[in-house]
């Protein structure tokens, strides 16, 4: 199993990473090396074993629906690269 340059570009697009061609090439090498190791776990019989998403299974954690202290608007915006009028500013998404 190996991954092509076009697949690397596709995955980079999914991951929202604008990679240059040097990085694409080097990541192709790294991914292919790792994929070789990923083959190791294909020996595991799939059926009959419940996949575990967590180390310690906890289910249905509820909390009381009570008002509490949260960040103020000023605090929430304090690290925004760009903010205006109490809002986060993002580049235009819908064109005119």
């Amino acid at each position: 199993m190996s991954i092509s340059l076009d697949e690397v570009r596709h995955v980079a697009r999914l991951a929202r990473l604008a990679l240059d061609e040097t990085e694409i090439l080097s990541l192709q090498g790294e991914l292919n090396a790792l994929l070789g190791h990923f083959e190791d776990i294909q020996v595991i019989e799939g059926s009959g074993i419940e996949p575990k998403s967590h180390a310690v299974a906890i289910q249905n954690v509820w909390s009381e629906d009570l008002p509490g202290r949260t960040l103020s608007r000023t605090q929430a915006l304090s690290n925004a690269p760009v903010s205006r009028a109490g809002l986060f500013v993002v580049p235009m998404i819908i064109e005119d």
């Binding site: 991954i3 697949e7 690397v8 995955v11 980079a12 999914l14 991951a15 929202r16 990473l17 604008a18 990679l19 990085e23 080097s26 990541l27 790294e30 991914l31 090396a33 790792l34 190791h37 990923f38 190791d40 776990i41 294909q42 595991i44 799939g46 074993i49 419940e50 996949p51 575990k52 998403s53 967590h54 180390a55 310690v56 906890i58 954690v61 909390s63 960040l71 605090q75 929430a76 304090s78 690290n79 925004a80 690269p81 760009v82 986060f88 993002v90 580049p91 235009m92 998404i93």
Partner: protein, 483 residues
């Protein structure tokens, strides 16, 4: 010198008013100023805030309201949020980020009256085993300045080893506390998954991440663990257990202790000097009455591969939040997606991008079942194997790291070699078990770590065993000489 003391000894001196909290803080801040330029443990030291913490602590002591850790200094890994103190994860993407809130563990340190000295270096977003992936600086091993302290919590481990702090917090996703503790010759403890709240720990692999601590002795680990563990409503994966009781650690023989030695963790790749020291320790512990049995847990062989699917998969999702909108830096780009893509390409370092790519690929359509779900099945099998082992044994013993501290830059050419450094520590993250690393000896003047693991939630039992082991081993608390 105050900096040579353990947290427990400092605590006794403070309570007896033989020394003030401010004197203690100044002693450590002074040592950081003179020694850290050689080591690079700290990314941020806020002297004024530290002194203010110490003054508050002294007020508590004077009123007779001090606790066991009041006035004791601590360093905090820079992926744990500290209100008002820059928290970067050693990443350019978070340069300048000042959290508007404290992580739960940091609130607990403050409640205990502890003095926060500063924030320690790490591999960017805790992704690495050498601390060389930090975007800002290299951290050096106090035993040999040409070598790595291990990682990802390398700054915290080296700071405790060099006595720049008596205690430090770290995070452990695949061994990031225990492996650097081993390479720096200090004690490093990862509690059971869920014993320590993850609220405010900047997430890497959420099902694996666990906050824990570094100290010079097991007694100190017990003290800090009691302060930072316990159920937290802000973390829904937090266990509803009380804090780890700082058990009245009892000296005593190891008579009757049943120890399992998984042969897979003593594999052929293990450095002979490491093996010699571990076997030597086993002999000493046998003399103390512990019995050792070789066992086999075949799934351990698949641990690294399983980890390198699950952790990047979770990371690729967790790190999606860094989009240049709410915090961190923002790069220029074409339209919204262009801005996000450029921000992430310029803000993340190579290793982080690589893991995001692996995770995105493993979760993408067509590969999800073959990689991610299958890795979760291996995780299941590994948990069952450990469960069976813990039915017959009290504790599992192994090397912590297959090799002692390696030269800076030495393993960069072979990324898989670096990944294999987690081989012995990954099972505790996949299975949620508590794990601790203790120094058991030296090979070529470099420390060798011995790892102990107990069943999930048996943190108190693990600390008691580790305490007895520490008492039995002659080199457990030796320190490097660096000034």
């Amino acid at each position: 010198m105050l900096t040579e003391l353990t947290a427990a000894d400092l605590s006794r001196l403070i309570a007896a008013k033989e020394v003030s909290c401010v004197e203690v803080a100044e002693a450590f801040l002074g040592r950081i100023e003179s020694v850290d330029p050689k080591l690079g443990c700290f990314l941020t030291v806020d002297q004024d805030k530290a002194i203010a913490c110490a003054q508050n602590a002294q007020t508590l002591v004077d009123k007779g309201e001090g606790g066991p850790l009041t006035g004791v200094p601590i360093a905090v890994k820079d992926n744990i949020s500290t209100e008002g103190i820059e928290t970067t994860c050693a990443s350019k993407i978070l340069k300048g980020y000042i959290p508007p809130f404290d992580a739960t563990v940091v609130s607990l340190l403050k409640q205990a009256g502890m003095t926060i000295l500063g924030k320690t270096n790490l591999d960017e977003f805790a992704m690495g085993t050498s601390t060389e992936n930090s975007a800002f600086q290299v951290t050096r091993n106090p035993w040999d300045l040409d070598r790595s302290p291990g990682g990802s919590s390398g700054g915290s481990a080296a700071a405790v080893a060099a006595e720049l702090a008596p205690l430090a917090l770290g995070s452990d996703t695949g061994g990031s506390i225990r492996q650097p503790a081993a390479l720096c010759g200090v004690v490093g403890f990862k509690p059971t998954y869920g014993r320590c709240s993850r609220y405010g720990l900047i997430a890497f692999g959420s099902s694996l991440d666990q906050i824990g601590s570094f100290a010079k002795t097991v007694e100190d680990i017990a003290l800090i663990s009691e302060a930072i563990t316990g159920n937290d409503a802000m973390d829904s994966t937090s266990l509803s257990c009380p804090p780890i009781a700082s058990v009245h650690l009892k000296s005593g023989s190891l008579k009757g202790l049943k120890v399992a030695l998984p042969k897979e963790l003593f594999g052929s790749a293990t450095h002979t000097g490491v093996l010699d020291q571990i076997h030597n320790a086993i002999q000493i512990l046998q003399g103390e009455g512990a019995s050792f049995t070789e066992v086999s847990m075949p799934s351990i062989e698949l641990g690294v591969t399983t980890y390198y699917i699950i952790a990047p998969a979770e990371a690729s999702s967790n790190l999606a939040r860094f989009d240049g909108v709410r915090y961190g830096v923002r790069s220029e780009g074409q339209g919204h997606i262009g801005v996000v893509e450029r921000t992430r390409a310029e803000g993340f370092g190579h290793e982080v991008k690589s893991r995001i790519m692996i995770g995105t690929y493993a979760l993408s359509a067509g590969y999800y079942d073959a990689f991610y779900v299958r890795a979760q099945r291996v995780r299941s099998i590994m948990q069952q194997e450990f469960e069976r082992t813990f039915q017959d044994f009290d504790v599992v013993l192994s090397p912590t790291s297959p090799v002692p501290a390696f030269k800076l830059g030495e393993l960069n050419l072979d990324p898989m070699a670096l990944k294999l450094l987690d081989f012995c520590t990954i099972p505790a993250n996949l299975g949620g078990m508590p794990g601790i690393s203790l120094n058991c000896g030296f090979t070529d003047n470099l420390p060798v770590g011995l790892q102990l693991m107990c069943a999930p939630s048996e943190d108190e039992k693990l600390l008691q065993i580790a305490y007895s082991v520490e008492q039995a081993l002659p080199n457990a608390t030796k320190r490097p000489s660096i000034a």
